[in-house]
Each structure stands twice: as structure tokens, then as C-alpha cells.
Amino acid sequence: MLPRDLRPEQLSGYPPEARKLVTNYIAALQRLPLSFLPSLLRESIEYDYKFPVERKALERELANLNSLSVEQLQEWLQGFAEIHLSAALENFDWINAPAQFVEQLSSYLWTTHQLDAFRTAAVAYADRLRAAAPPEPPSAPRLGITVVGQGVTSYDQPLFRKLRAHGAYYSHVNPENGLRVLLDAVAARARAHPTPYAHWYIDGGKEVEHDTALTTVSYAALEPARAALLGKMRAEIDRPGMGPEALRTRLAQLRPADLAFSNGDEVLDRFRIKMLTEGSGTQIFSTTFAQWTAREALRRAQPLTLLVRFAARQRQKPMNELLAATLEATELDPVGSLVDADIAAYYNWLNQQRLPGANQSSFLVWFEGNTQALVIGPGVPRGTSSTSATTLSQLLSTLA
């Protein structure tokens, strides 16, 4: 089946808002190449469970495609039209299973050496879309905060090495009540700019007391869902004929209810579960969970404020200990987790800077309970360091 054959009645499996959205633009969608359309449907079918910023972006993209003439559309999507697809892909149920189609398309592109051509087409399309329908600037400058090193009392290696060139490093920060100061600052921003899903607190361990206005995701709160997921993964792996593609597909189909997980916010519940079902390593290491959740929150919800606090992950046992198979309680690796979180802080900043309004965005990273911190912002001198005594409140004020 090809896009020109797409009909509204084939969308009966879509959630209501998604069905309405796709039906509204069905004429535009019928004109798209098969190498492109399922990617758009993969986003559209999730419309009901997307964050407000994502919804607007998708609506903008569909409206833009709808506005293009036949000639313009050919020009925009020429690269995609030149991708050769197999009969198997054409016959795939890409309307009802667009995510699985995209997965198979990806494999096919690698196999047929068309990945580079697809990448080129995708980059060209994204550039055009950004120019024609630019994303909205944030309603306030963004602030990212990353807290690393929970449980580490001292560490003699240099921290924040990848971030130092971009901001100011402080080595004598008063750590007293540091986490509370940061959470209060985040809460104040949430009250000043009360937009849904605009202010996040992600914790790689157990969340501490915080303002209810914050959108919160924590590793500890997801523990029952994580255990249920690992159980399902083991059961699936033991089934005859199970392979990685099929396993990924099964995991992607899991819903919060499948893992007995519900907090009454379907959008956020789905986001939380996706962190476990779609992330790599998030089921095992809390540091990976926190980094990936921050990445996805920034990419999808585009928050104005994001505080990410890393906790100690479980220690990876060396082979000889695994073979000895002693029944010890799970051990933690605070220092390894600090190293993980240090690079994750850099990634948090990079991902924040990919969002609209990057030139006004600010960032702070703090070694929890210790005296080292670094700030980056429009008015902060780059590549500097200070040994002067200061506080986190004072550092935050330099970013305001």
C-alpha cells in the first residue's frame, strides 16, 4: 500500500485526537513518499499523549506540508522520493504500526547503503522546515541545573572539564542547604511561569520534598514498574524465535497499565514508561536513567526549567564476582556514578542548547555536598575560574 491509498477509515485504531488530526490533513499526507510518511504518522499516532510543545510542533509541520504546492513538495522531499524501498516495506501495515515500519526502514537503509542519502534528505528537510515554520521562542529564558556526586565525600580528579571552557568554575561554594536552595529556585520559576510541563525535577534516586508544581520523574518511584518490566523482558527472551527486533517491538507496545503503573496523568505516565522501555541501560543503571530522561524531557517537553539530580547507581560486578555468585545485597558505585554524571551534565547542557532561545539560556552544575560548581549563561565570563567564597544563591543570581 502506498500513501496515495491512505483513507480516513483506515485510522480507526488511532486515539481520538490523533485520528482527528491525521484526518484533517489526509490530503497532504497522501502526497508524501513512503520513505517519509510513516515517520510522520509515528509522531501523529502519539498525538494524544504528547506534551503541549510537541503538539504545536506537529501541528505546525502538518500545516506547512499542507500549504506546499505540488512542485514545492517535490522539491522539499526529493531526497526521500529517491529512496528505493522493498516490496515488503510497501506491503507493511505502516498505517497502524508506523514505529515498527520505521524500525524496519532503518534496517533496510543500512543494508542497502541508503542511510547516508536518507540522512541527507532528513537534514535538508529539517533545515527547510525550521526556516519555513520556526519553533516558538521560550516564554522565559531557560535554566538547567544538574546536581552530581550524591554520596561522594571527596574526589580528587578535576570535574566539569568539558563545561569549563563555556562558563565560570567556582571551587569555594558553600554547600549548606544547597539542594534546598536549588529546588526553591526551581519552584519559584514554576510559580512565575505557570505553564504545564515547563518545570521539571528528575531524580536518579529517591525524590526529595519539592513543590507540586514541578513535573517529577524519579528512578525510585519507578522501581515497581522497572521490576515488572525486567520480568516481562526475561519472559519474552525465553520465548522461541524471539529476536532483538521483536523484543524491541514488544517493549514499545507496553503501556503504563501493563506495568501496573498509573498516576492519573496519561501523558506523563507514558513518558515515564518510555524511559524504561525505549532507553538503553535505563533499566539497569540509575545514572543512565537520569541522563536519558533529561535528554528526552528537553527534546520533547522543552522545559523552561530542568533540575536533574544524579544518585549512585548499582556497581557493575566484575566477571570473577559474577562467577562466584555470592548472594550479596546490591552494592552502589558512588565514584563511578560521579564520573557518569559529570559527562551527563555536559550532555544536559548540550541538549538544552539545542532548544530555541539557546543564547539566553543558563546552566548550573554542582557537586552535591561539596564546594565545586560551574555556571554558564549570557553574562557569565567563559573559561574562568574563581576561588572566592560564594553560595549557590549567589551563583543563581548571576544567571537571573
Binding site: 543494508t111 534528505a121 523482558m233 532483538p244 538503553s280 543512565t288 555468585a325 557518569d340 550532555y347
Partner: protein
């Protein structure tokens, strides 16, 4: 926009080569390719039947910033201080194939960009270096061996090509698979270790093909199951086990063509940066151990060429489609570009070349060194090594 994107990629690749060359010149006192410091032992003086080759590949690429860049050199002290000064180093080895570890290793071993399913237990579609070697030179099966991680690599030894294929390939040892067999019957919790596949956690394909059987431990490696288990209990990682088995092979059978694929670095897929760095440091140490073993084994000393290369790189921090070091899914220039070093008789020492070459050039180069004709391989022999 298409040409713009292409130009960006080319510029990135050029900068990559330039920066690697500069790192090496400053960090390891390397000379550019024009400064030719001949190894005093010429390969031409060694009869072909005496020549041996050891290839070490990393399944799980390592990026410049964690290795050869100034901030990464602390992670590879053995490569920087011991091996690179003795090697000819190529800064730009490009893999234009599929960036999955099994299929990429198969491509390295055939000299053709294979398109087999990375996660299935399938043989390469084109003849492997082992088949060319054994068929052309009429070598016995004991003369070509592969030591590899267990996830799918059991079929790497021979292709399904009709002119080569069954009976002409390498024997394959999967140390983790051996460990599974050796530990059978014990109620232990090492399933994670034995089944892990960092690209697809918790998955391992069914085994098939010419994998080494447990009873052969005793027959060929002169190693009892109990001794094997006891030694495994002293090692910290699967790659250490692989090197242990490789050294045992060298001692007992002295194969002329030995291929070792390491995999510890690929823990990066789990997203823990510190474990990725640990993997790099361990691999650095194990490469040096293998070079020392080559020099200390009478069958290998003075007549062996060692090749070390990752199968490909990892994603750049700058590509928003990826997640930095964690994966190799974007197909960007950094994930496709890696390096290779060669050491041994006739190989120029302390020389760096930054011309682009392809990973499929390895098999034709091995053919020139060992004296076989890889007729179906797509790459070209590396002139700087011949």
C-alpha cells in the same frame, strides 16, 4: 543542502584526521609518513610459510576524545607509550558498511561490506580471510583461529560462499560460551554475564557453526575444565578471558592466522560513561599484553605482524540524533571513522598516515603479507605496509 551536508561531513573527516595526526605527533612522538624509519627486520626476509598475523579488533569503538585526543590519552597509556611508537598508524580508516558489531567484523574479515542481519546467527556471504588463507595455502584447520565474544560471532569463521565455505574456515572459540558449558549445573547468577550483548541487552542468538567444543579444551589447549573455571574466577572481564584463551592457543597450536575480537568497551551501550572508560583502559592493557605475548612466544617472535583496529567509531556529541558515546547509530563521520595500527617485521615504526582508507582494505593487505589471493574482496592492499 545535500552538497552542504556532504561538505560538512568531509570537513569533519579532514579535521578528524588532522587532529589525530597532531595528537600523535605531540603525544607519542610520531613522525609523518614522509619520515621513513624502517624496522630493522624486513618482512621480505621471512619465508611466507613462517609468517604469522594476529588481528585484534574492538567490537565497540572508542572515540578520539576518550583515546588519542589530549584529554583521552590518560586512558591508553600502553598504546601511547609502548605500541604506537613501534607502529605504523593510520588515522582515517572509514567503515562505509553497517555499523553493527557482528556484521562489521564480518566485513573486516571478508573485505566486503556484508549486509547480513547483525543479530542473527548467520555466516558471512563472502569468503572470509580464513578461507582464502587455508584454501590458497593449503593450510590445516589448526592454522586459523578466531577468539570472539559469544553474541553471534560463532559463524564468523567461514562463509556460505559455494567456492569456499564449510570445512575451509577458521575454528572459532567463544570463551563465554565455553564458560557457560563449563559452569553448567551450577545454580549461579551469571546469566547476565554469559548472555549479554551490549547492543541488544539480554539477547543472544542460538549457536551454530563450527564453534569450539568444551571437550576440545583438553585435547587442543591442554586445559582441563576445572583449570579453565579456576582461571576464569581470577579474571575481571570477558575480554581478559578471550586473551587468556588466545595466549593458550598461541602456546599450544601456534596458528599462523589468529583473529581476536574484544567487546568490553561496548558496555557503553548501557550508558555508564565510567564503565566505557574502564573498558578502554582494559583493552589498552590487553593489547599490550598480546604484543608482549607475541614477542615472548618463540613461534611468533620476529615473524608476526600485529594489526589493532576498532570495527568503527561511536556517535559524536554534536549529533542531536545520537546520545554521544553511548551508541553508534547515527552513521555520522565520527561513528564511521576509526584508526588502525600495524606492528611487526618490516613495518615502519613511529609513522602516521592520514590518507583515508577503508576497513575493507585489511583483508587484501593480509593476503599480500601471508601470500594468498582474496579474489572477491573489495578493498585494496595498503601500500604503506608492503
Amino acid at each position: 543542502m545535500s552538497s552542504h551536508f556532504s561538505a560538512i561531513n568531509q570537513e569533519l573527516a579532514r579535521q578528524l584526521a588532522w587532529s589525530r595526526r597532531e595528537f600523535l605527533r605531540t603525544g607519542a612522538a610520531m613522525a609523518l609518513g614522509s619520515t621513513l624509519l624502517h624496522n630493522p627486520v624486513a618482512l621480505a626476509g621471512i619465508p611466507i610459510k613462517k609468517r604469522k598475523v594476529v588481528v585484534i579488533t574492538f567490537g565497540g569503538g572508542a572515540r578520539d576524545q576518550e583515546t588519542f585526543a589530549p584529554e583521552g590519552q590518560e586512558n591508553i597509556p600502553h598504546l601511547m607509550k609502548e605500541l604506537i611508537p613501534q607502529s605504523t598508524f593510520f588515522t582515517q580508516v572509514v567503515n562505509r558498511g553497517i555499523l553493527g558489531h557482528y556484521v562489521a567484523t564480518a566485513s573486516l574479515a571478508t573485505g566486503v561490506y556484508e549486509t547480513i542481519n547483525n543479530f542473527a546467527s548467520l555466516p558471512p556471504e563472502h569468503p572470509t580471510v580464513f578461507e582464502y588463507f587455508r584454501k590458497d595455502l593449503k593450510r590445516p584447520s589448526t592454522d586459523a583461529w578466531v577468539v570472539a565474544p559469544s553474541n553471534g560471532f560463532n559463524r564468523i569463521g567461514e562463509s556460505n560462499n559455494r567456492a569456499y565455505g564449510p570445512g575451509l574456515g577458521a575454528s572459532v572459540i567463544l570463551p563465554k560460551h565455553l564458560l557457560t558449558a563449563a559452569m553448567s549445573g551450577r545454580a549461579t547468577d551469571y546469566e547476565h554475564l554469559l548472555r549479554d550483548n551490549y547492543e541488544t541487552p539480554l539477547y543472544a542468538p542460538d549457536l551454530g557453526g563450527n564453534e569450539f567444543q568444551l571437550q576440545q579444551l583438553q585435547m587442543m589447549l591442554k586445559l582441563s575444565v576445572d583449570d579453565f573455571k579456576a582461571h576464569a574466577l581470577t579474571l575481571s572481564s570477558p575480554d581478559e578471558l578471550s586473551v587468556y584463551i588466545a595466549r593458550r592457543l598461541m602456546r599450544q597450536l601456534a596458528p599462523s592466522l589468529l583473529w581476536i575480537t574484544m567487546h568490553d568497551i561496548d558496555i557503553a551501550h548501557a550508558g555508564a560513561y565510567s564503565l566505557y572508560i574502564d573498558g578502554i583502559r582494559r583493552t589498552d592493557r590487553l593489547c599490550a599484553e598480546m604484543w608482549k605475548a607475541i614477542q615472548s612466544e618463540p613461534e611468533y617472535a620476529g615473524n608476526t605482524t600485529l594489526f589493532i583496529l576498532p570495527d568503527f567509531g561511536r556517535d559524536s556529541d554534536d549529533d542531536s540524533g545520537g546520545n554521544g558515546f553511548q551508541h553508534h547509530r547515527t552513521g555520522d563521520a565520527l561513528s564511521r571513522t576509526t584508526w588502525m595500527m600495524a606492528l611487526g617485521p618490516g613495518i615502519r615504526e613511529g609513522v602516521v598516515y592520514d590518507r583515508p582508507m577503508q576497513s575493507t582494505d585489511l583483508v587484501p593487505t593480509l593476503g599480500s603479507i601471508l601470500g594468498f589471493s582474496p579474489s572477491l574482496a573489495q578493498g585494496k592492499p595498503i601500500a604503506e605496509l608492503l
